[in-house]
């Protein structure tokens, strides 16, 4: 396992940037998730590391080697494809042994290694099956075993879980994470599912339109997103447009005053507050937190452990609140009735509004101007 370094890597297709000025170092044994909306360049980045796509700018290093122009079959990257790409005319063990066969490993050693790999993914009882005789989850594991059999310098996973059902996805991602830890695999994991990325990654790279938007640990990105885009992507945040009127004070366009801690850009900004940080204020009790907003309950959606309450607030904007099903507050709530909400000072996050696209449907809670 080796470290992977991308320096100012770019790829243009007919003048259009698929990936632009991408610099990142994935440390040995680290699992980095590439995250971003469809078409942001995740697959392209991964394919440049594997060697399927030649970068139009920059340099890629695996360990000490500059592999930028090296054909894929000379590199040692283990790729798991979204559709698994198992060879349909080969059995499970032939699939897993293919890379070793190409490396002219002795037959007996191949056999032993194949068995070892299949034990690792708990499929050693299906050696002679063909891929079409396997379930999606089993195929996924064969693909993983095949990629690992060649002891690659880096493991590359392109949305490896997207073809599995929700429950299996959950189990397999834990398995992949455990395996990655156990074997100390340098891993790059592409996904567009933020929950998945938060669950498996040591570090996240959020991409937007071919560029890196922010890099950090899951916690950093979740707690201190740098931009509205990240905040939105990391979990549905509520956004209020306005400006910082005094240190620690934010004034919305409709005149409400909210408080935040820490520094913030002074120009036009966005105040973001996550649905799970907002409390419902019961009846006419005093609000627990200094930030208070009132509105009308528009809809209550039961989501299992939490209820999502959509509130038409006095700012003219719909605010989403996640209230625990177990709490009493939710029981007394009725659609169409007035409600007050409040959140702590430290839950207010002031974000740069410069990348705030006004007319893009992706941002759900847009301020109505």
């Amino acid at each position: 396992m080796k470290q992977v370094t991308l320096s100012h890597v770019g790829k243009t297709y007919g003048g259009v940037d698929a990936v632009h000025d991408f610099s990142l170092t994935v440390k040995q044994g680290e699992l980095v998730a590439l995250l971003g909306p469809s078409g942001c360049g995740k697959t392209t980045t991964l394919r440049m590391i594997a060697g399927f796509v030649l970068p139009t700018a920059g340099e890629i290093r695996i360990g000490q080697h500059n592999v930028t122009e090296m054909p894929p079959y000379r590199r040692s990257t283990g790729m798991v494809f979204q559709n698994y790409a198992l060879f349909p005319h080969m059995t499970v063990s032939q699939n897993v042994g293919f890379g070793l066969e190409m490396r002219n490993v002795a037959r007996a050693d191949i056999k032993a290694r194949v068995l070892e790999m299949l034990r690792l993914v708990h499929l050693d009882h299906l050696l002679d099956r063909y891929p079409r005789q396997l379930s999606g989850g089993q195929q996924q594991r064969v693909a993983l075993a095949r990629a690992l059999a060649i002891t690659p310098d880096v493991l590359l996973l392109d949305e490896p879980l997207s073809n599995l059902d929700a429950k299996l996805r959950h189990a397999v991602r834990i398995e992949i994470r455990q395996l990655q830890r156990k074997l100390g695999l340098t891993t790059i994991f592409v996904t567009h599912d933020q929950e998945e990325a938060l669950a498996v990654a040591d570090r996240l790279v959020v991409m937007n339109k071919g560029r890196i938007e922010q890099v950090g640990t899951p916690r950093e990105l979740y707690d201190t997103p740098r931009t509205a885009f990240i905040a939105d992507f990391m979990g549905r945040a509520n956004f209020l447009r306005g400006y910082v009127s005094a240190p620690g004070t934010f004034l919305t366009q409709s005149g409400q005053r909210f408080y935040f801690s820490g520094s913030a850009p002074s120009s036009t900004s966005i105040l973001s507050v996550r649905p799970d940080c907002i409390d419902l204020v019961p009846g006419d009790a005093a609000p627990k937190h200094p930030n208070v907003l009132s509105g009308i309950v528009r809809a209550i959606t039961f989501l299992g452990p939490v209820n999502e309450v959509m509130i038409g607030s006095d700012t003219g904007q719909t605010i989403s609140v996640h209230s625990r099903t177990a709490s009493h507050d939710i029981a007394s709530l009725k659609e169409g009735e007035p409600v007050r909400i409040s959140w702590p000072v430290k839950a207010s996050q002031i974000l740069d509004a410069s990348d705030w696209p006004d007319n893009e449907g992706r941002y759900k809670n847009r301020t109505e101007d």
């Binding site: 079959y73 080969m90 890379g99 190409m102 063909y130």
Partner: protein, 285 residues
Amino acid sequence: MGKGGKSRHNVASLAVPATLTVAGILFLPLLMLFRISFNQYDRYDLMIETFTLSNYTEILTDSFYRSVLLRTFEVAVLSTAVTLALAFPVAYFVARAPARWKSLLIILTIFPLFVGNMVRAAGWMAIMGNQGFLNQILLKMGLIGTPIEILYTPSAVFVGIVAVVLPFMILSLQSVIEGIDPNLELAASNLGAGPLMTFRHVILPLALPGVLAGTVLVFILCMNAYAMPVLLGGPRFHVMAPQVYQQITGQSNWPFGGALAFILMMTTLILTFVSTSVIQRQYRP
């Protein structure tokens, strides 16, 4: 097995008239010819209704016809092999071409089929003749001093036949290669297989149904080639199909022509069957 009117609503029964018609169209002429091949030729009556194997024994013991059969076989095998080798890269290229180019490429591939074989043979004659295009060019370039003989050689026939059958091979291969997930090639290369190994271990085995279909189709076409051997091979070049024609229309010897046709057909069938089962066995996973 509802015989009679019980299975009125059986959809399959609707297909019966069409199937019978097609079977009739396909097999009736063959049956007629087969029957005729056991008759006896007569100089005055042309044909005597009887049942004799003499036509067959005559062909199989005659060294001329044996050599014609062998020559036909040689030409067919060689043409098929070369066609396969030429068609594979082209078929791959077409199959992997971007969607907007693909239909154009396919139309270009089948375009030659819009013109009959006779006409194309004539075209080749204009190219290969002593005063033909090719000799003119070679003379102009000073590569040769006097025109060389290209037309009326086995090579001319060979080129002509390959040109005729190429589109069939390309189409058979292209349709199968198109069904091979391009990610499989990437996966192979990711696992350390260079282009040659990827071809050998992934593309070829997966394209095998197309290879078989194309090879069988092309081999049959080559065994039965008519226009190219006659027009490009000249009077001394003999293969089976023109011999059949010659016997039936030239000599009016229907029984002998029929027997020749059946030997040609049986040889083709047996060779096709044997070769496909050998190839299939070799590549069975």
